[in-house]
């Protein structure tokens, strides 16, 4: 098993390298460069050229690339031209918010998906099952941004149950209990929105697993032996069906990243997703480089973890 894990990790290294080169070249191709925005129109073009030369923007691309990678591995991602801050500080300030949002989303997703999926499979064709099927269909078909808009409109503005933007209300003392409560309140609406649509695949999978296993022979044997139905479901069916969910983690992370870009824009939530969009609009490509690299790495690590978990959990894969 360790061999497969090692092979998997080794495979990841060329992927990371190709990813970083690709991103670097893409960002380089973007029109405009850091000095375009700072230029005084009356400035002599020669001065701008010397500035460019000094910043190393005229060097061949591979030199610039290695310089960037070298700095990046030491944690120096350069300077953001939007905020006049080091990129690393900028990202570090925002990434906490996005991670908090992602955690809330994931927790709510599984809190809803696991019981709904399992129970819908167990009580097949009941009104509960039918309701879950309809809900599943909607969560699969409705695009995230429309749902988020409607949620914001209904619960944020019309009903005024939740705050509509930001992470925390101004004026609260940092570290106090009301501060944390308020932070949590700001997380609920975006987190709930993302979670309600994220349950689609999991519910569908769990429900079909339970239905398949329910009809198998060993269940009939157990029931004829006199084992109470509850025990059959809890011991055998639910546990076996739930384990492969851990393997979905990699794709969860991809979905969360893509979703966060949309959700953070709609809810004006200052996280990494919003930073990404702002930096693209402003052509702040040191931020873009750093963000895509970090997010790409996060996805890679996520898929790696899910592969490892899958190989631990499923003995059939282990033997290979």
């Amino acid at each position: 098993m360790w061999k497969t894990i090692l092979r998997r990790v080794l495979l990841m290294i060329p992927q990371v390298i190709i990813l970083s080169v690709l991103i670097f070249l893409l960002a380089k191709m973007m029109p405009g460069d850091p000095f375009a925005g700072l230029i005084n129109p009356n400035q002599d073009p020669k001065v701008i050229e010397t500035l460019r030369e000094a910043a190393g923007l005229n060097d061949p691309w591979y030199e610039q690339y290695f310089r960037w990678i070298g700095n990046a591995s030491q944690g120096d991602f350069g300077q953001s031209f939007m905020f006049k801050l080091p990129v690393a500080t900028l990202i570090a300030g925002r990434v906490g918010n996005t991670i908090a949002l992602a955690l809330v989303s994931v927790i709510i997703t599984y809190l809803i998906a696991i019981p709904f999926g399992l129970l819908a499979g167990r009580y097949q064709n009941s009104w509960f099952d039918k309701m879950v099927i309809v809900y599943n269909f909607f969560s699969f078909a409705v695009p995230l941004f429309i749902f988020a808009l409607i949620m914001l409109f209904a619960f944020g503005y019309r009903l005024d149950w939740f705050p509509t933007s930001g992470t925390v209300t101004v004026g609260l003392d940092k570290g106090s209990l009301p501060y944390y409560f308020d932070k949590f309140k700001h997380l609920i609406l975006p987190g709930l929105t993302q979670a309600l649509l994220g349950t689609a695949v999991t519910i569908q999978y769990l429900r079909s697993e339970v239905i398949d296993v329910k009809n198998m022979d060993f269940v009939r044997t157990a029931r004829s032996k006199g084992v109470p139905t509850n025990k059959i479901f809890n011991r055998h069916i639910f546990r076996n069906a739930s384990l492969p969910i851990a393997s979905q983690l990699g794709y969860e992370i991809t979905a969360l990243i893509a979703g966060s870009v949309v959700i953070e824009k709609i809810f004006a939530f200052p996280g990494v997703g919003k930073l990404f969009i702002d930096s693209i609009i402003q052509r702040d490509y040191s931020v873009i480089n750093a963000l895509v690299l970090i997010l790409g790495l996060a996805t890679l690590i996520g898929t790696l973890i899910s592969d490892i978990v899958m190989s631990i959990v499923d003995p059939r894969i282990r033997i290979q």
Partner: protein, 306 residues
């Protein structure tokens, strides 16, 4: 025991496992499926016929005096705003029709292109196995791991002459991978079957086996996948345009209409700008998905209702 004479026994002709009649039967069994199909047909017809009669340049003509006109008011020129106007005084109804047509066409184009590439490469990869399979799967794995939406956004900002076709090609370049994976695994199981070995023994060319024999057996999966993919692609295109990275601002689109809702003022006070577009996308995607579900059920015998 009931008596049956030769005259009263009527044998029902069995429905073939594939084919149009069976699909039609699957639809009839569930009323929502027929309803969705009808709704979809109505939307498609009205959008395409309507866009013939609406002049795009007139719709996108900025008229500040009509800024945020409410539905039903009359413009400066004397025409009536059926659904009001947006910030630039542009007719919402016209934008809705043309925007819907654009989104549908783009979604359709992306679906077709990704299907051709995905199914083609998937079948080739599954049939040949070995080195070809390895190479294609490595590429697929690499692309699947990328944060695709982020990279598309970066690509969109990079291209200098940016138009609808650039957008379509960028999206197609990334979204074929899931299909390739799916059809490769299906082809792998099909390629083991006896009819493939028989054809090989007979000397049929590989190309013929792949696309004249294996592919028709996957056709129900292809059609179902196509339909559900169509809905997803419309969703992705609208999301990207909403964020500002899809169609350029001068082209009417459902995404830009909804994008105006980013400002709290428009969201709360001027719903006529974004609500019709949102409802239209919702109805469109739900009905396409419903039709796709019915097709999926007709393909999988275990789930059939009829």
């Amino acid at each position: 025991m009931t008596e049956k004479t030769k005259d009263t026994i009527t044998l029902q002709e069995s429905i073939p496992p594939m084919g149009f009649r069976m699909i039609a039967r699957e639809f009839v069994k569930e009323k929502m499926a027929i309803f969705s199909l009808v709704v979809l047909a109505i939307i498609l017809l009205s959008v395409f016929i309507g866009s013939f009669f609406i002049d795009q340049s007139q719709v996108m003509h900025v008229s500040i005096l009509d800024k945020y006109a409410e539905p039903g008011t009359v413009t400066v020129d004397g025409n009536q705003f059926l659904l009001g106007a947006d910030e630039g005084g542009r007719d919402i109804f016209g934008q809705l029709i043309i925007g819907a047509r654009n989104s549908i066409l783009i979604g359709f184009a992306i679906t077709i292109i990704t299907s051709v590439i995905g199914v083609g490469l998937g079948i080739i990869s599954g049939y040949y196995g070995g080195l070809i399979d390895n190479i294609i799967m490595r590429i697929v794995d690499f692309i699947m791991i990328l944060p695709i939406m982020l990279i598309i956004i970066v690509f969109v900002s990079v291209i200098r002459e940016y138009n609808i076709w650039a957008f379509i090609w960028i999206m197609s370049a990334f979204y074929w991978v899931a299909k390739a994976r799916l059809f490769r695994s299906k082809t792998l199981s099909e390629a083991r079957r006896d009819y493939v070995s028989a054809s090989k023994t007979m000397g049929s060319s590989d190309f013929k086996i792949m696309f004249r024999e294996i592919m028709p057996n996957l056709s129900s999966l292809i059609i179902t996948n196509l339909t559900i993919n169509f809905a997803a692609n419309i969703g992705i295109e609208t999301t990207l345009t909403f964020l500002g990275f899809g169609l350029p601002q001068s082209v009417p689109s459902l995404g830009t209409l909804i994008g105006y809702a980013s400002s709290g003022d428009v969201l709360v006070n001027r719903q006529w700008v974004w609500l019709p577009a949102s409802i239209l996308i919702l109805v469109l995607m739900l009905s396409i998905n419903y039709v796709g579900q019915a097709l999926k059920r007709s393909a999988d015998a275990r789930q059939r209702l009829g």
